[in-house]
Symmetry: C5
Subunit: 359 residues, 5 copies
């Protein structure tokens, strides 16, 4: 269970003073990779800085800079970047502890935003489990720093648009870039939900053809995934709502209308999740009542067979008794008569069941 | 499932820059049809413009103009209309992506309203499914532009009233026209709900005559329809409430009292949906308890039959044994005596069951 | 089902312009009856006006006038009364469409209040169904106009008090009269709830003596009645709360303390309904678990009988076999021995069941 | 059922003008008893006034006066007391109608508070039912009038403290006295809840040793008691919250900190009730699943016995047939062979059941 | 049950005047232990004062002082400490009555905070029950007094950091110390939740391998623990939220950002608890449906066996009858023919069951 794993990791740092950067998250190794995209309407520069000191220059440059940090398991790197851009130690701690809820915090010079990025639909669910990673954004007037846990993200579209000067992204500031990243994350939720919806349809069809023992556990598995998704998306709504209401001065007014658009998408996502949950509850009810129906059917078969044959067997038993004085046994037509009687009894029973609509 | 289908379509545009007009909705072809109704208290002009350029003139004309666009699958058409009337690109995007929640957005010169129009009751449910399409309204001081997805709408009454100068519609402005359209959409919900109510009564009667295996799935089918309807109507309440509170200056005060009337209708619709949901939940409970009852009844029949005849068969079995020294077998009245004993046992059993009220 | 019937009627007017007076409600015929009670502290005049024109004079008279209109199925009458007292067309429409939710609307010169009047307990539930009719009140400074759907109301007490100059009603204005009418309606809810409570007790006692198949449907019937009642009372709370907070200037301050009293009664009514619903839910759970218990008991009887006699029958079957070489059959004490063995087996079984507390 | 009884009594006064004092509550007779405790820091006077006229003097005396009225079934007494202290008629009506919800009403000269007093735990539940009576408090600057329905209250501790000059009660005003009375009522809830908690433990232990048919109805009985208790305590929270926020000027600031303390206790009471309800729901689930378990066990026994012996009986039946040409019957070892075969079949069955973990 | 025990203790003090210090909590004996840590950035002094009079000096000293009181069962000690630091009597009462809900109260000179400390995970759950004790904090400008019920707390990390001058704790004031204590308490919740999560996983795996009778009661046991935990954590959220919003002047602005961090942790804790509850509910549903499944399976086995062999036994019974004229008995191939017939019947039955997918 994801929950327990997360909690376990969290506890590694219990007892340490606040602001201590201990990575809380899945164990990861390897170097931290930093890429920089620096652009204005006319120029575009992409580079992979060899030293972290190079980053400081982008803090005050008039261009828009997107610094993407892949891997947050190295406290030193985070600390140095934090130092270059004067980020509050608790923010750095939140970046490193990747079990945060989505949230936004408005500092004077920058906004700190935490999101949950669901790793690309197909890829991320290979083992049947939705995996999420924490995306932390530091948005300031001239730059956006994004921290993600692993390689592989949902930003290829944004990169393309910057490179090809498509859309208005090159004409706008860092707040629009931040919006584009958030938008990409939220759009990706739709991909995940689409897959879940398809699974749901498959499950539903299987359910209609008859209850299988594993259907119940699969329904519950999906229910739990919905709980997990809701936890990722629900607080995001509040975050984007606050951004779109202009709570931070970093996000300027022309961007707010775009944020309202993302907000609408987030609400749609939440609604879809809630709908899926209601549908799953309904499916569970169908499952349970179809089990009851089936049990009913089994009981009816048993009852019909037993009710017809047990009395007949008793009659046969009577004439199987060895009493010396049983006059019927000697009658010429005794045997055919009793057979006829049995046949009639059985027929009467069958009629009775038909009247009761059991058959 | 509608949900999944919608989500699928939605994902086609993931990764594109915001403001890109890619049609998100059921695949539709054929030309987009535009009709114009232009009127004031004294004059009325209806036309099907041959070129979109003709539309621009209505933007500033002193008359009230209703431009109805049927089909939103052609981005170019939407873009050109949007250009003529200076509509924000994100609004155009929302018009084209027909999976919006009902909402209103107040721009300076116009109000953008999204509704869900349920396609005319009888017709729209032919295959047992309620179908909805998105109705987008651009309401400005002198004109209303309505975008619907397919031919066939619920506005014939409004058209009649304009043509016949019936009611006050010809004496009032564009805001009253917009109100009339919204009112027609909401009134149509009552038709759908009436049909659902009738189905519910049929289902209920069938349920009272005994639980059938498909009743459960039908109840759940209707429950899901209610979830679907609620999703269409619930946000509408907020939209109309905001309009009727005069949040937008486009809607003038004399129209607000009419909007409050629509608001009341929307609340009634929501209440009816909620009541239907409660009734459906109750019916499911009745269904499940009637299955239990029936199982109980089946079990009782089995138990009565088995409890009476199994012991009797045993007695018959005893006298069917082939021991040499079984004195009873030779008694003159052994056979009648044992028959009598069996009869009495059975009678005692029956009395016992009657005392227990099983029969 | 009430719901569906109402909706059906409602749809008759879909498509008509707002403000069109088409009666929405149960089909009713016969003349509309209008009675007038006109009083101040010293004088009292009761009359049944022969023409509607007579009513206009009461609009400006210094006395308090109560015009009671029985029957709203005649649009002309409503329209003419509305004309005499300058009532807004949408208000008249709401009076005629008797499927409104309880609400209040404050116009400058009058307050429009819609209530649900439950027709006198005993009488109104003769066929086991609570019937409600819409009571519309127009309250102005000098007069109250009340519209009810049928003959028979809950205002006899108010009429008595006016006639006998009992209480303070004759010394107070039209707002106090309106309060008295609302109070009578709310008080009547208690009568209905008392009856429901008695039914509930009867049902509960029946349930304790054993589950009957119709108990479940009766519980659900009552649950639905509670849903119906709640829909009538719940919005009323908001209505009276707004009146008692002095939102309208028609209701003067001395009357507000009385309205707070009615408000308390309304809250009590809602609480009683909620309690009844919880009690009904509990009864359903008792019902279901008593069905389970009973099934359990039936199963036990079957199992005891079968478990004792099926093995014994098998033993008897063995000695009923016709093998030539079965030495036991020839033993002198074989038969008594086997009988004893059977007896002991049965006794052991019984002891086992007793240990398991099945008997 | 308490609910219905209350409602019944309530309806006796339907139709009477507001402010009419008709006792609504359990029928009670006998004289109304009035006791007066008058004190300041130095003096203490306790008396049972012979005439009600004597009370008026305490209205303006500088000492703190506690007038306790036992019995509210005599409208004349209430009316005369109300007259002496200038109490609003609707307040007097609320005192006499003992079916009020807990509430507070702030008049200029006094505060009117309604509480539900649960009659002393042990005593009050003798017949297994929690009984409540209405306690009405009129709190003014120099006096507190308390109205209770019957003899026997929870104020002995308060009386002691006044008499023995213990605590600060003698040094403080009437508001502190009122606080002390409310505190005593709330503290008494803990006694009731403690008893309920003990009952719950007993019930739980009984449940663990096996489901008894009456456990379900006892759980529901307790659930209903919790509904009843919640109805008494829930509105009280609001009442005390408003008092402690200083909404009334009668309660001075130094007393507010004490009222916050009572507020905390009320919240604790509500939480305990909610916890009990959740625990009871859990117990019901345990009960139902243990019934299912038991049914399962019964079914297993039946199935094991039937599955083993029915086939064997069939085999015995075969060799009980009377065909002339059945060679096996003549074999020397036929009988032992068939016995061995039966034994083996039975053993195989048992192994199968063991593999399925049925035994 | 914890609840009942607590309530019992609580009732010991019913009837006493407010402010009376009677210990409400588990009976504890032994001396109260007081330790003092006094520090500023440069100096550190730890001592166990021999007399309580020594404490008064720390009230005004410019250093930060942490006075930790272990054991609140001695009213005199609490009273004397309260006297030295001028604490309100009701606060002292709340310290001694250890059944408070988490709360904060802002007095002018100090803040009073009540928390629930869960005693160190492993240790505290030895007997399978989460135990909590009340931690009361008095936070003033120069000192923090903490009251805990027993030896053993979660503050070792804080003590270490003070001693080793690690982190910024020595450079900050008393409000930061209070924050550190609260942070340690909340961090400890994660340890408890981690253990619960592990238990949950074990329980889940056991459940998947088949329903055991005790699984249901274990699920309910854990559900109840979650109710208990939620009661401890839920009000804490409000407490920390108020502190972090700067409601008290004791907590200065630089500390507020740290409190917001604790607030986030508290919300995470609550979410984890809610998730666990949902997971437990899901597990109960799985449990119940797996019981149903198993019952279904048992029924099928019974039905298959009975349906095949009961009719065959009847056939055998027929040919076991002793009629004189039964021609089949004399046929040469009668016996093999009837055996063949039986075999075929059985085969047909099996095919029928296979078609119905029962086997």
């Amino acid at each position: 269970m994801i929950m327990a794993r997360r909690l376990k990791m969290r506890t590694n740092k219990v007892g340490l003073p606040p602001g201590t950067l201990v990575h809380v998250g899945d164990e990861r190794t390897g170097p931290v990779r930093v890429t920089v995209v620096d652009y204005d309407q006319d120029h575009l520069r992409e580079l992979c800085p060899t030293t972290l000191d190079m980053l400081a220059e982008f803090k005050t440059s008039p261009t828009v800079t997107w610094i993407n940090v892949v891997g947050v398991h190295s406290p030193e790197v985070i600390e140095r970047i934090g130092g270059s851009f004067e980020i509050h130690p608790l923010v750095l701690e939140d970046i490193v502890h990747t079990d945060q809820r989505p949230k936004m915090e408005d500092f004077e010079d920058y906004v700190f935003i935490v999101l949950k990025m669901l790793n690309g639909a197909r890829e991320g669910r290979e083992d049947g489990e939705i995996r999420s990673e924490q995306l932390s954004l530091i948005v300031s007037r001239g730059f956006v720093i994004s921290f993600q846990e692993t390689e592989g993200d949902v930003f290829d579209g944004v990169r393309d648009r910057i490179r090809k000067s498509k859309g208005k992204i090159r004409r706008r500031g860092a707040d629009y870039l931040a919006y584009s990243l958030i938008d990409a994350v939220v759009d990706n939720y739709f991909l995940i939900l689409e897959e879940v919806g398809e699974e749901l349809e498959v499950l539903e069809e299987r359910l209609l053809s008859g209850p299988t023992p594993d259907a119940s556990s699969q329904i519950h598995q999906m229910k739990r995934e919905m709980i997990f998704l809701r936890k990722s998306v629900w607080p995001l709504r509040e975050v984007i709502s606050r951004l779109s209401r202009g709570e931070s001065e970093i996000f300027e007014e022309p961007t707010e209308v775009y944020l309202r658009d993302v907000y609408d998408h987030t609400v749609q996502t939440i609604e879809a999740i809630e709908t899926f949950r209601e549908v799953l509850s309904g499916m569970l009810e169908i499952y349970l009542s179809s089990i009851s129906n089936r049990m009913n059917e089994v009981m009816k078969v048993l009852t019909i067979i037993a009710t017809i044959f047990i009395p007949l067997t008793f009659v046969a038993g009577i004439y199987g008794m060895n009493f010396e004085y049983m006059p019927e046994l000697r009658w010429r037509w005794g045997y055919p008569a009793i057979l006829l009687f049995m046949l009639l009894s059985g027929a009467v029973m069958l009629l009775y069941f038909r009247r009761k609509r059991w058959i």
